[in-house]
Subunit: 454 residues, 2 copies
């Protein structure tokens, strides 16, 4: 029986849409990256569909200037900073959660803890932090000599998370007395100073925001490397993952859920949500035509740029798009798990370079599903019931229309099948996701000390 579990749905928003050429589609909002009305519409559409949350990816910087040909055709260079975006949209929505991506490699733990706490207060407990170590090299933007390597980034991430959680615990939940008669505003015994000395960070003192309404914002992760899986099993509450096949998804799901007991956690404390790029149509034929229409918008320059990036700058001039894709490099200082996914796909399917770039252009390695709303609901239900997913992160090909189509055409089917909510359960994102509100670590330690003494 699956009815005891509830399906989770997020909307992964990306400017004009997830397809590399989305902005060229007649239905897309071409200036979407800096159009607040566009994002307002998307957040409100997601809320109309009772989705758990909206999510944006992010890089903390833009790095150096790219070659003119690549730069000219990219719609990804200029966009909102996620936390300011979600703070704004929290005032024009009431229920949907907001997942902001932010980097442990290029941000400061105190400033980050502060802005997420502020977002959680402003949104009434609807904030989530997608913790990333940042694969792209943006060191030059931050005055660093080089992009820290993968292992170092994960070491920093561990410390960074420990610091932010401790800072969020500065004030116990009942620290604020605010007694006008006596003039006592806060109980000093319920205010805790952190003393963190690590290999990468030293942070001492108090956070200047009260404990977030959710205790901590919901902690999300996307990394699926060994280091990423371990960090997620220890610290995450939601994983946005990329899986192309049911088997692959089941392996990942079982592996990560299997790591939880080692860290004293139970399986329902971590929700696994693969991405899915749904290309909808009233019939199968229409869905396929829609898919072909989007693909036709990819300019050959863009295709070769995408391929060259995945081949880590290798010279591909000896190849045509009809040639079988050569093996991909196996080492990277970027996103290791995403590289493995693509490497596996090339090995498994032996695609031509044309087929490979189409796969990459559509959903950057995420799963593409082309079909009717009924078939899409079936695909979602299958993975949900077969131990492959707790829900999905929906990646609409073209925005705003494809999110509205999903909400209007697929969500009602999932609701009729009893898989998805028809009303929000709670007021905070944690409540809607069925995640516990974490206790304050200082209050917990004090309570344990009292118990030991008794």
């Amino acid at each position: 029986m699956t009815q005891s579990r509830k399906l989770r749905l997020g909307a992964f928003l990306m400017a004009s849409g997830h397809h590399a050429a989305a902005w060229r589609h007649p239905a897309s909002q071409a200036d979407a990256g800096l159009n607040i009305a566009h994002y307002r519409e998307l957040a409100q559409t997601a809320e109309r569909g009772k989705l758990d949350m909206v999510f944006v990816a992010d890089s903390p910087g833009a790095g150096l200037k790219a070659e003119p040909e690549a730069l000219a055709r990219s719609s990804q260079g200029a966009k909102f900073e996620p936390v300011t975006l979600w703070a704004a949209l929290s005032q024009v929505t009431e229920h949907v959660g907001f997942v902001a991506t932010a980097s442990t490699t290029y941000e400061d733990p105190y400033t980050l803890a502060r802005k997420f706490a502020s977002l959680d207060w402003i949104s009434g407990g609807r904030a989530a932090w997608n913790v990333v170590t940042t694969g792209a090299d943006v060191a030059a933007n931050f005055g660093l000599d080089r992009h820290p390597d993968h292992a170092l980034r994960y070491e920093r991430a561990e410390e960074f998370l420990a610091i932010t959680k401790a800072l969020w615990d500065t004030y116990e939940d009942d620290a604020f007395v605010r007694d006008k008669a006596s003039g006592i505003y806060v109980d000093p015994d319920k205010v805790h100073s952190i003393e963190f000395e690590g290999a990468h960070f030293n942070v001492r003192g108090l956070l200047n925001v009260g404990r977030p309404p959710q205790g901590y914002p919901v902690i999300v992760q996307a990394g699926a490397s060994e280091a990423g899986r371990d960090l997620a099993a220890r610290t995450s509450e939601v994983i946005f993952t990329a899986n192309l096949t049911l088997e692959d998804a089941q392996e990942f799901y079982a592996d990560v859920k299997g790591r939880l007991p080692r860290f004293g956690r139970s399986p329902e404390q971590l929700l696994i949500m693969p991405g899915i790029f749904p290309v909808l149509g009233g019939s199968e034929a229409e869905a396929k035509a829609n898919y072909e229409e989007i693909q036709s918008l990819v300019h050959p320059d863009t295709a070769w740029n995408i391929l060259t990036r995945h081949y880590q700058g290798a010279d591909l001039s000896a190849y045509s798009l009809d040639d079988t894709a050569p093996p991909l490099p196996t080492e990277t200082n970027g996103n290791k798990s995403r590289l493995k996914l693509v490497t596996d796909y090339v090995e498994r399917e032996q695609p031509t370079l044309l087929e490979l770039y189409r796969t990459l252009a559509t959903a950057r390695g995420h799963r593409v599903f082309v079909g009717t709303p009924e078939q899409t609901a079936d695909a979602i239900q299958l993975w949900f019931e077969q131990g492959a997913a707790d829900g999905f992160n929906i990646m609409p090909p073209i925005l705003p229309n494809c999110l509205a189509d999903f909400v209007d055409q697929v969500v009602p089917i999932l609701q009729r099948r009893g898989l998805f909510r028809t009303e929000y359960e709670g007021t905070t994102l944690r409540e809607n996701l069925g995640l516990e509100r974490p206790a304050n670590s200082y209050a917990l330690a004090a309570a344990e000390a009292r118990e030991d003494a008794a």
Copy 2:
């Protein structure tokens, strides 16, 4: 004739109000610092009054834990981060500008440039940055050994501002082509990579946000030390200052405006706005009674805490509140200009310690004005017409009610006298303040090169 100049009014918002004991007043919102509905009301009240902008002060950190007695009575420890707060409120207002304080000492220039650019886009060109070097020592929160000294902070601030402006110029205003037919999204010739090498920062590459609608957010400053005045004359567009007497304000006004020509700027490119703490009443007697009521809420512990802080921790136990205030120390690594203001006041007025703490508790050294709405309008008009101010930063003693009182009782008088607007003039903060939109430095350099060649 003053009619050619327009009076500027900002609302300096501070949680429950500007008075040190504001939160204890029956009319105040005691949990204001983390109450988004409270700030929504304030921003909408300011907009109802056609005020130019709302403003919040800020410290990037909370430092270390204070002594329990001081901590217990302080309502200032937990509050929203300004940029997230203003992003949120931009969606529930249409005209009012948003001045966010942010530190050049404890923030990163790339991340700061990005968040302010994002706020300017989200608010439709209503963002301003109050550039501060941070007087309070919060080094421990950021893993630094010590709080940088005053001179070093101002050196960093100069570099920081140069970097953020260059980053905001990454994209020329017409860089985005977004031609769906050709697939050209951006004109690479109109995208500029910065190469900044300074004593404190090295920043290279592109910003990942488009050029802000206002070109740059409006640049605001508050420092009034020698270094502060020079930085302001070179780079600021608004100064929030603290002046207690007309003569003092006139000296400051003439001095700073006099520095502008040296930097190729004209007097109207920098607006000088002293703070004013208006205690209103239907009659003079009622206003005085309101003042006494607020003062009666200051707990003696708070009084001594305020005094000790201004005497930089000196032992005051030999004094009673009725003793004449001893001379203040003359050296500080904090806010030099504010210290001078208080030092001058002590020298000039020879107040008792009771009188001194009352002055500090009300408006932290800013000007207190107790009177009827008519008298308050007179006081504003006098300074505006006598070369002491371009406008005022209103510091309501108690919030939310005292801002509403000012908007409902004083603003209409200023409007009737033709001193203040009855409708917003433009859509951006710059337009409302009558400040020019700065040209893109790269576009400007290219145009000058073309002219030289012609």
